[in-house]
């Protein structure tokens, strides 16, 4: 028991430390470009935390999260620019709408298993994406919404700079992480992990696996939707292209690279993947002046492959293993003088 409370305290102090670190960053970094990268990392983290909850704890893969991200973005974009509704209400409407859609669609989808389930979420995502492209009157079609999306504002404070937006984005990302953390360490979390372990065993012990899976799916979609709304109000313009299959795959890649077994995985995965993409964008033209975007794609793919070969469980558990190995060697060294 004592050990358990100690671990809980450690977990809480880690979160507090991380929060302090995150909120002090914008005062240390004054470069706008770096800040904007951090804002994007925060937005993606919110999506990937939800995805990790679904993949790592409920053991269900989703290849449709970019579409849920898009649902939030379009809900915000259309409601605020075309109908002039308050942005905060639009975010809420997007989240509730996405939650309802995914919950109802989830009922038949979650009767499927493994690869079939992955394909069904992929199909759902593609259908939503086709709607974004084809419903020209509502969404503006392939070229995107024609009217500008307003910035978010709190009272009289308009969040129109990276510096101001950073705090909102990361407050929401941290809230998402803390909520996910509480879910994971609650009765529901244990039920979810039992589904991951063996669905049959979980069922036989009276866990309503279908209900839990649906709820987690809807929750992770709501995370994606809120993140999408934040994206729309940050960029203030949306078109269908960032909400396609490639983005869905990118989210899954971020989740897996970070590692699915810890709530720190998403932050690590999103940061690593985003920084890598940005770094490749700025480093490669310096090394090879005439190079275009091709080298980025090649190197990104190769790094992904190599990471997965050497750290198949993701960065988090890879780092943990390194740390444990180091501690083990240190203890051995202490014992044998």
């Amino acid at each position: 028991m004592k050990d358990l409370t100690r671990r809980k305290r450690l977990r809480h102090s880690l979160i507090v430390l991380f929060t302090l670190f995150i909120f002090s960053l914008p005062f240390l970094i004054t470069n706008n470009y770096y800040l904007s990268v951090l804002v994007i990392i925060g937005i993606h983290t919110t999506v990937v935390v939800g995805l990790c909850l679904l993949m790592g704890y409920a053991g269900q893969i989703s290849l449709g999260h970019a579409a849920f991200y898009g649902l939030g973005a379009y809900a915000s974009g259309i409601l605020t620019s075309t109908y002039g509704i308050s942005p905060w209400l639009a975010i809420l409407a997007g989240a509730v709408g996405t939650g309802l859609i995914t919950y109802t669609m989830g009922i038949p989808i979650f009767r499927l298993k493994e690869h079939y389930l992955a394909l069904a979420t992929l199909g759902l995502g593609l259908i939503i994406h086709v709607i974004f492209v084809e419903e020209v009157e509502l969404t503006g079609g392939p070229s995107g919404l024609s009217k500008g999306i307003p910035y978010l504002s709190i009272g009289k404070l308009v969040l129109n700079t990276d510096f101001r937006y950073y705090f909102l984005v990361w407050a929401i990302a941290l809230a998402a992480i803390i909520l996910a953390n509480n879910v994971v360490h609650s009765r529901i979390g244990r039920a979810l992990r039992s589904i991951h372990g063996s669905e049959f065993a979980a069922k036989s012990l009276g866990v309503d696996t279908d209900k839990f899976k649906l709820q987690v799916f809807a929750l992770s979609a709501i995370y994606a939707s809120v993140a999408g709304s934040l994206y729309a109000h940050y960029i203030t313009f949306i078109s269908p292209s960032p909400f396609g299959l490639m983005t869905s795959i990118q989210f899954v890649v971020m989740a897996v690279v970070g590692g699915l077994s810890s709530i720190w995985g998403p932050i690590l995965g999103v940061t690593a993947v985003t920084l890598l993409t940005e770094a490749l964008k700025s480093i490669i033209p310096q090394l090879i002046p005439q190079a275009g975007g091709e080298y980025e794609i090649v190197i990104f793919g190769l790094i992904l492959v190599i990471t997965m070969i050497f750290l198949p469980e993701g960065l988090t558990s890879g780092l943990l293993k390194l740390y444990e190995g180091w501690r083990y060697r240190k203890e051995r060294a202490d014992e044998i003088p």
Partner: protein
């Protein structure tokens, strides 16, 4: 044009694309059965085949020779990939392996972009001649080539699997990997063989489809995806299922594009896919239902 001939037209063009989907789906199924991996780089094999072919024909290599060399080149590339990347990650979880194939497909696409650029390439049809009229519908000679190639390949694959040592060993691996190993069949060798064989199927699909679409570095993305859909429709572990799944997907798509809306073509295909999955959760030809715990 009457409705009947219009329908026939859609079905014929659907079967043409369906043949391609079937070849790609077959590659998915073979690799999945032998190794348990969903190989998301399958579409890139198609693109590589088409690209090598276009390049070789551009170098004035006669078409039949170019076809064989392109297929062999793709087989060598994929063999090296299997040897280098897939084998070293043998013990990883299925999700990790899927991510590895996604990384590979990204890298291959990037390399193709480096080598061939973003310009679309054109390949001349295998035989010259105008469209052929069948019962009010028209079909271009290249479509006949595609359908013919698909049939020949399927028959060859069937014989390979049923009557050769390699085929039997491969099937043994699909049925029970552990028992196959006890019988002296090396699953590693079979994995390599499955990848190389799927590469040949993909490359061939890319070569025969090249004259009717433009060849671009990113053509593999959508073809790979459709092949995956076809494979799942067919139950993911059944080779005849993959073929029928591919043909069905091609026809559904073409009917949807013709009768409803071409913009919603992909949407319609996926709505039907979802409906099929909801009604038969294990795919049309899959063994759904009970699973041993």
């Amino acid at each position: 044009m009457t409705l009947a001939s219009e329908l026939l037209q859609y079905i014929l063009s659907g079967l043409t694309m369906g043949g391609i989907y079937a070849l790609v789906a077959l590659g998915f199924v073979i690799i999945h059965n032998v190794t348990g991996i969903i190989n998301f780089a399958q579409g890139e094999f198609v693109m590589l085949g088409a690209m090598f072919m276009v390049t070789l024909v551009g170098l004035k290599v006669p078409t039949p020779l170019a076809l064989i060399i392109s297929i062999i080149l793709v087989m060598i590339v994929v063999g090296l990939i299997e040897f280098g990347a897939i084998r070293s990650a043998r013990k990883a979880s299925p999700v990790t392996l899927v991510i590895i194939t996604i990384g590979l497909s990204t890298a291959i696409r990037g390399i193709a972009l480096l080598v061939w650029g973003t310009n679309p390439y054109r390949l001349e049809p295998f035989t010259k001649g105008g469209p052929i009229n069948i019962g009010g519908a028209t079909i271009i000679p290249q479509s006949l080539w595609i359908i013919g190639t698909t049939v020949v390949v399927l028959v060859l694959t069937y014989f390979l699997f049923e009557y050769t040592y390699f085929g039997k060993a491969l099937r043994a691996c699909m049925v029970n990997k552990f028992a196959a190993r006890l019988m002296g069949i090396s699953p590693q060798k079979m994995s390599l063989f499955a990848f190389v064989f799927s590469a040949a199927l993909g490359a061939l699909a890319g070569i025969v489809i090249a004259p009717i679409t433009y060849v671009t570095y990113d053509m593999g993305l959508m073809l790979g995806l459709k092949g995956f859909v076809a494979a799942v429709l067919g139950g993911l572990s059944s080779t005849p299922g993959a073929v029928i799944g591919g043909l069905a997907l091609g026809v559904i798509e073409s009917l949807g594009a013709g009768l409803v809306s071409s913009g919603y073509k992909d949407g319609i295909a996926f709505i039907i896919l979802l409906l099929v999955l909801f009604l038969k959760p294990g795919g049309v030809f899959g063994t759904s239902g009970s699973k041993r715990v």
